[in-house]
Amino acid sequence: MNELLWIFVSALLINNFVLSYFLGLCPFLGVSGRLDTAFRLGLATIFVMLITALCSWFLNTYVLVYAPYLRLISFIVVIASTVQFIEMVIKKLSPALFKALGIFLPLITTNCAILGLAIFATNRGYGLAEGLVFAFGAGAGFTLALVLMAGIREEVELSDVPALIRGTAMNLIIAGILSMAFMGFAGLFSAT
């Protein structure tokens, strides 16, 4: 139980995927302009990450034991096709949910955070429960970072910033400061 809590807190705060491992930076910089889009993208990412954890666990346990060298290729192919399949299912079953998440799903699949999740979980030898908790923590951490960033950027829009620094340079510096703030979470778990 303690182990699972550590995996969750570590992925959510201490080793945040975006701010500490630099995974999923493209959407982090690209889609963090508005708060509500950022939040929905975050939810869709959590969803895809949970599926990824499931897929990679299945592959690791039943297929890759016999062919470890096919890990990378099979991860990409299986995850991408599963997400595409689920996208179609959601479109059929719940148009409302599709409207909220659907447009982001293909975008997320090619996101390095997804493949990163599968590879990290494999390298650390996580089982099914650990993998799912790790995926949920990482997805929630991604959402948290994205929402924080979007909130800051909405504020900055209205302030008087020199034209030269506007754009990616400023977003990166904001991300740097956020990342510094998240460093404060280190030791959270082992301070006792």
């Binding site: 550590w6 570590s10 201490i14 080793n15 034991v65 060298y69 096919l70 290729i73 650390r124 030898g125 280190a186 030791g187 778990f189 082992s190 301070a191």
Partner: protein
């Protein structure tokens, strides 16, 4: 819309058979190349991994010249070189005359930043730890990374009693045989190392005692 689709088809749309053929050909070729690269590099990679592990075991158990991998299963320790997922394994170290010196025990747990993985040597006769090596950590450079970069801290674990329990104490305070100097400025990392070793001790020491009957002698 429909007209554009028609022109597209008119341009010579390949049948799905060709699409599948292309993809399977690409997959087949890529599989072949990957297997080839894997087979060529595998011996070097395995040899290096074995070397690194051996060096770590020899380092934490001074005087040891050969080792065996032991797996704990069904309340017994058996020699087993086949690495399997979910194995609980330790290493026994023997000196030049073939006498059992001690065991190298791996441990892992949360550190200041990320999970710390380490290996330590344990000598059952003296109930003492004979050395510690950090295998993996992401502790803060300049502070937490002293758990493996500071020779004085690592030296704490050469001949350290495990009874009643290892503790990390501030530098300069009076110490028992089972206490170590915590690193100034990295108390949490020092305590994390101590906690990982204590936890592994709680798990393995009873097992070793139980297994060290006459039948375990070599």
């Amino acid at each position: 819309m429909s007209s554009s689709r028609n022109t597209h088809v008119g341009k010579g749309d390949p049948g799905s058979l060709k699409l599948i053929a292309t993809l399977s050909f690409a997959g087949l070729l890529s599989g072949l190349i990957i297997v080839l690269a894997y087979e060529t590099t595998l011996p070097t990679i395995t040899a290096y991994k074995a070397k690194v592990l051996e060096e770590a075991v020899f380092k934490v158990l001074p005087g040891v010249t050969s080792m065996q991998r032991l797996v704990y299963r069904d309340r017994a320790l058996t020699v087993n070189d086949q690495v399997q997922k979910g194995d609980e394994a330790i290493f026994s170290g023997f000196d030049a005359s073939g006498r059992l010196v001690g065991y190298a025990i791996p441990g892992a747990g949360p550190g200041f930043q990320d999970t710390i993985r380490l290996l330590y040597g344990y000598i059952p006769e003296q109930r003492k730890i004979s050395g510690m090596e950090i295998l993996e950590s992401r502790e803060t450079p300049g502070l937490g990374d002293k758990i493996y970069k500071d020779p004085a801290f690592v030296a704490n674990f050469e001949s350290l009693s495990v009874d009643p329990e290892i503790r990390a104490i501030k530098k300069g305070k009076p110490k028992a045989a089972s206490d170590i100097d915590a690193i100034t400025g990295a108390t949490i990392s020092s305590k994390a190392v101590v906690r990982i070793i204590n936890e592994a001790n709680r798990l393995w020491l009873p097992r070793l005692e139980q297994a060290s009957g006459p039948e375990a002698e070599r």
